[in-house]
Symmetry: C2
Subunit: 379 residues, 2 copies
């Protein structure tokens, strides 16, 4: 009999909430999990079979860690790619593949990939200096993005005029035409080495403008079938063009004139899929495991209406986290609490999420609004 | 602000699959979990915050372990009660309470409790010797049960005639009239210290005759509403009479003449509630946490039809477990795998369970039958 998932060791680079929710699913398959994270109090620490405190961007640390595993995956893109390439050369399975992470790590290369593969995206230009920015053909206002290391809204700013350019990021960036969008949406797609591809139903997101973070997510969408299908086809095409193994989250805009533009990619479980734990037959985390272990992909259909609320640290609160209002929201039917095991809160830190499941969409949204106003992470 | 669930330490006596599934839910609440189990490779070992290998029946071991926790619970009844009593005296919360565990630990005392509280149950008699058995007023054939330490069908035998008595168990037992039942059912009820009580919908069970273990469980039941309500009222009455804090599983018989008789109790998460993880809005494990931390009880309604199949070790297989057919059953929609992290299989050992969720009851049962015939735990 061939090696089974229960005989294998999964190495995960990064031990934050995404790794934590991945391990929660991995437990059901007797999978042995190994975590590498620079924070000795990372959310995964106590639930992994093996936890190593170390840098995920250092060649030797990542390489030596990877040698201990059978399959290596990531929960964050900012990892040492050269070590992953070396591990691949030595026969380890790295999913997503190092070349996919390398491509997605650099938002400039990502945008060029969209262009080369006829994937609809906002016009852009790569820039290296404030001079490039001032001389660009893209009109003000535009969006400036650092090509690397952006995360959770960091590394993105709006440039309104020439004066803003002086306070702009330094180094390799891209500038992008401001999209007049009606809605931000996302589709998560999974692909296994057999080439099976499945998408989760399209979801709608609402952002916290101040933090530039997803605050609310609604599943499934009520956009017309034709638009949902178009978004799902785009996601599938990207997964196939990339030949990715694993999950790929595709964030998109629906413009006011009804077009879909791809914003950016994440080759891993993603905030836009947290609702799938209770809202869909298979969760994004289990689907990622199924994909990287080359198992049949699960049923992605929605079971119920689901609204996901990110639980962000309150402004002006720094210190040991308290969850004010938790008991109140637990009294509501169909409410699922997911705290991420982070001891300390700080403004806008992702401390957990809440999913509301309800057969009635309006009622789910109403409950979510109540939760947003009631549950506060304070110190 | 008062102490919150995320500030507290939960000590669990026993580190098997029930503890494992309890921890899987506890992770979502940042709860710190401590496990005491005599097996150094217990299913909970790698997912608890703290694991101690030690006896759960030894006074000092249990007492010293309990001192480290804020709330103490169990996943098996065979624990040292005196240590729990001492911990209660010193102000620790032990849920279920030591007096409830003491009562349920002894099936003789349990039956007397039923009698005293007008809870319908089969006629019985306590016996201490083969002589008592032969002189009993209960006619052959009857059921003989050891009063203590029975588990998973062990400690129960059918006595057909006087000849069988010679091979019967020794020591304190009870004998019970053979019930001519149509169906075995169960209702799980939860009660918190506030006195809130909620039942899960009644489920139907099918047993493996050879192993005397639940093999199949179907939720929700299709018995008439009136019978389901009666079963739920019985469960609530028992929980209230016991003044229990936590979960209580009530196993019952529906007799051929339409009566309900209580078979036995378990004051903890139970095999008859595993389907609730995916099949109901709240799972039995989360409900137990809500109850023992005095939080609002969750919504117990069924979301979908669910069939649970226990995954028992195949006969004649002893050794490192292999899950033959796993990939095949994962290709079916609505199938959830729960392996218990046990390295070694042996005949009839509970190695995991599978839940099938389907909007169509017949289809769920059909899938469950296919799974039962396809998935085998071998060595």
């Amino acid at each position: 009999m061939a090696k089974q998932i229960s005989d294998l060791k999964l190495g995960i680079l990064g031990g934050g909430q995404l790794g934590r929710m991945l391990i929660q699913e991995a437990i059901n398959y007797n999978l042995t999990t190994l975590i590498l994270d620079p924070d000795n109090e990372a959310p995964c620490k106590h639930i992994a079979n093996y936890f190593e405190c170390g840098s995920i961007t250092d060649f030797d640390t990542v390489y030596n860690f990877g040698k201990k595993a059978d399959i290596i995956t990531i929960e964050i893109e900012k990892v040492n790619i050269e070590a992953l390439e070396q591990l691949e050369k030595e026969g380890k399975h790295v999913y997503p593949q190092s070349r996919v992470i390398r491509l997605i790590q650099d938002k400039g290369v990502q945008k060029q990939f969209f262009k080369e593969n006829d994937i609809p995206t906002a016009p852009f230009q790569l820039v290296n200096s404030q001079e490039d920015m001032l001389n660009s053909s893209i009109p003000f206002p535009y969006i400036l993005k650092q090509r690397k290391d952006g995360y959770d809204g960091k590394g993105v700013m709006k440039i309104n005029n020439a004066a803003d350019v002086e306070n702009a990021f330094e180094g390799p960036c891209l500038i992008e035409e401001l999209v007049d969008f009606e809605k931000e949406i996302a589709v998560i797609v999974a692909r296994n080495p057999n080439g099976d591809v499945k998408t989760f139903p399209m979801v709608e997101m609402e952002f916290n403008a101040e933090a530039n973070l997803v605050e609310f997510l609604i599943s499934p969408s009520t956009y017309p079938e034709a638009i949902q299908e178009r978004a799902e086809v785009i996601a599938k095409n990207i997964a196939s063009s990339l030949n990715i193994t694993g999950l790929l989250a595709v964030e998109m805009f629906i413009t006011r004139d009804g077009n879909i533009l791809v914003n950016e990619l994440a080759p891993r479980p993603h905030n836009s899929g947290h609702h799938t734990i209770e809202g869909n037959y298979v969760s994004q985390f289990e689907q990622h495991l199924r994909a990287i272990f080359n198992l049949p992909l699960g049923d992605t259909r929605a079971i119920n209406n689901a609204v996901m609320i990110n639980l962000l640290g309150e402004k002006n609160h720094n210190g040991v986290a308290k969850y004010h209002g938790l008991e109140k929201i637990m009294a509501i039917d169909g409410v699922y609490v997911h705290l991420y095991g982070k001891k300390y809160t700080k403004p806008f830190r992702k401390m957990g999420h809440i999913t509301v499941v309800d057969q009635n969409r309006e009622s789910a949204i109403e409950k979510a609004n109540y939760i947003k106003n009631t549950l506060k992470v304070i110190s």
